[in-house]
């Protein structure tokens, strides 16, 4: 096993659920792992979710122990707020790369007391609450962030120095600069996750223009205990909604926006949110507009049937246009597929079930060799039937949604496959020596 400072057995790119699972599996059998996460915290997108389908288990309760285990593991070295680039394959079991660590302007000793946040006079959109509220220019990313260290958004900082004045431990350090570190690894696992579809592209849905049209991720944040508001409320006027619509396939199965494939999770996360809304707002009506319901996983169909039984209305209909009326309510014009007629319905909050897109960051990470993409820009699985983690580069493997849309259990399974194939690759090279 590697033991020199910048030499590792495996580079795991991405600190979401798939990256963590891969890193833990490999670290537990003795391999030295370096994990690089571009965000300020580990946890990926899963750490921001309310509950998982179809069991309705608390998402954070599943992911935070895994995050902590990853962060504390002696064989895993983590870099957050960092990027990896110039990955170069020298030979089998021999990759060079350059790690770029961006400055947080806060040292690792930070205790997360948040006195600096209280003192900061700047307020900007909070990206971790999906722009539903503000955050300070110095901030802890979110309450269960790991590491729980503040960071300064230097682009929005007014350089008043108040944070440094109030910090009880003298942990603010404006002298920090970007740091580049060369590393050598024997193999690479790409666990770079996915991007969410930007619904402003479909202008007829009015997202960004009509404040009561929100994304499912914004609704997800409204359903967690650390929600941006005191209850589930309309972003326009703070009214408790009582007639909520879901628009499925927003940016999925839609050639006109360049994403013809199914995102695999929107039907079920919308169904899950509908159930949670019935609990949070017992008097509310929830309607889901769908093209087809894809409830293919274990327990999914039963979950869908249960949701119908709870009173959620499912309408097979394609939404043409959303308009706002004076009081912030929304008129949905849709084709009722069952009757073949164009109809209109009024709702007071619309949730767009936005689809999943490939995260194309990996395409610029390699220097002397190309990591091939599939037709939808995900990392290409060169043998997806018998060796699903294998990519176009020997020694580079793929885990989770970097290879295509999938739900959380499938991401964990994919990470298991990636770690098994990586271990096999490393062991084989060792035996050959």
């Amino acid at each position: 096993m590697s033991d020199q400072t910048n030499n590792y057995d495996v580079l795991v790119v991405g600190g979401g659920i798939a990256g963590e699972e891969t890193a833990l599996n490999l670290a537990n059998i003795g391999y030295k792992v370096i994990m690089v996460e571009k965000d300020l915290s580990l946890g990926g997108k899963m750490i921001h979710l309310s509950k998982v389908f179809p069991t309705l288990d608390c998402s954070a309760c599943i992911t935070t122990p895994k995050v902590s285990e990853t962060a504390r593991h002696p064989n895993i070295h983590i870099f957050t707020n960092s990027e990896v680039g110039e990955i170069e394959k020298i030979s089998e079991n021999n990759f060079n790369a350059v790690l770029t660590e961006k400055p947080r302007y806060v040292t690792e000793e930070c205790t997360g007391c948040q006195l600096c946040e209280d003192a900061c006079p700047v307020s900007v959109d909070d990206q971790f609450q999906y722009e539903l509220v503000g955050r300070k220019a110095i901030y802890i990313p979110f309450s269960i962030a790991n590491p729980r260290i503040a960071a300064i958004d230097i682009e929005n900082c007014i350089l008043c120095g108040l944070c440094e004045k109030v910090c009880p431990g003298d942990y603010i350090d404006f002298r920090q600069v970007e740091k580049k570190t060369p590393i050598n690894v024997k193999s690479v696992v790409m666990a770079t996750g996915y991007e969410l579809f930007d619904p402003t592209i479909i202008t007829r849905y009015g997202f960004g223009k009509f404040k009561n049209v929100v994304t499912a991720m914004q609704m997800e944040r409204q359903l967690v205990p650390t929600r941006p508001y005191n209850s589930v409320l309309r972003p326009k006027d703070g009214k408790m909604p009582d007639n909520i619509a879901y628009v499925l396939c927003t940016g999925s199965r839609d050639d006109t926006v360049g994403n013809p494939i199914c995102s695999q999770v929107c039907c079920m996360y919308s169904t899950k949110q509908a159930q949670l809304l019935m609990g949070a707002l017992p008097m509310a009506d929830v309607t889901i507009y769908y093209i087809h319901i894809r409830a293919f996983g274990k327990g999914f169909c039963e979950f869908y049937n249960q949701t119908q039984g709870m009173g959620v209305e499912f309408i097979k209909g394609k939404i043409g246009k959303i308009d706002e009326v004076d009081d912030g309510d929304l008129i949905l014009r849709y084709e009722d597929i069952e009757s073949g007629k164009v109809k209109e319905a009024k709702h007071d909050l619309v949730v767009l079930a936005t689809g999943i897109l490939a995260n194309k960051d990996y395409q610029s990470m390699f220097k002397n060799i190309e990591l091939e993409a599939d037709p939808f820009n995900y990392v290409k699985q060169t043998n997806d039937l018998s060796s699903p983690a294998r990519t176009s580069i020997g020694g580079v493997f793929v885990a989770g949604t970097a290879s295509g849309p999938m739900d959380i259990p499938d991401s964990i399974l994919s990470a298991g496959a990636a770690s098994a194939e990586t271990a096999s690759y490393l062991r084989r090279a060792n035996n050959e020596k």
Partner: protein, 92 residues
């Protein structure tokens, strides 16, 4: 090892854009308006919108931000179960 305040160091190499300065001023202006409007009694967002010359979604955003920062707290829900009222938080 830190021996003194480091803010002076970054001030020498960075400047703050006019846009960032303007945003900070705007936030403080809206914060003052909301806190002043809530001073006499708790109010709902539509009640605040009648009193403050700002669009209702801007008031909602900033009120919820002030709630997050601990300046404002949630009051009662109205009789129609539609709107909560919000009140100033008594600081210890």
């Amino acid at each position: 090892m830190k021996t003194s305040k480091t803010i002076d160091h970054i001030k020498k190499i960075r400047t703050v854009s006019d846009e960032v300065k303007a945003k900070r001023k705007e936030f403080n202006r809206i914060k003052k308006l909301i806190l002043k409007a809530l001073d006499p009694e708790p109010k709902s967002i539509p009640q605040l919108a009648k009193e403050i010359d700002l669009s209702i979604d801007v008031i909602t955003f900033h009120l919820m931000t002030l709630r997050k920062y601990g300046d404002v707290e949630t009051g009662e829900l109205d009789d129609m179960d539609e709107y909560f009222s919000y009140k100033l938080k008594q600081k210890e």
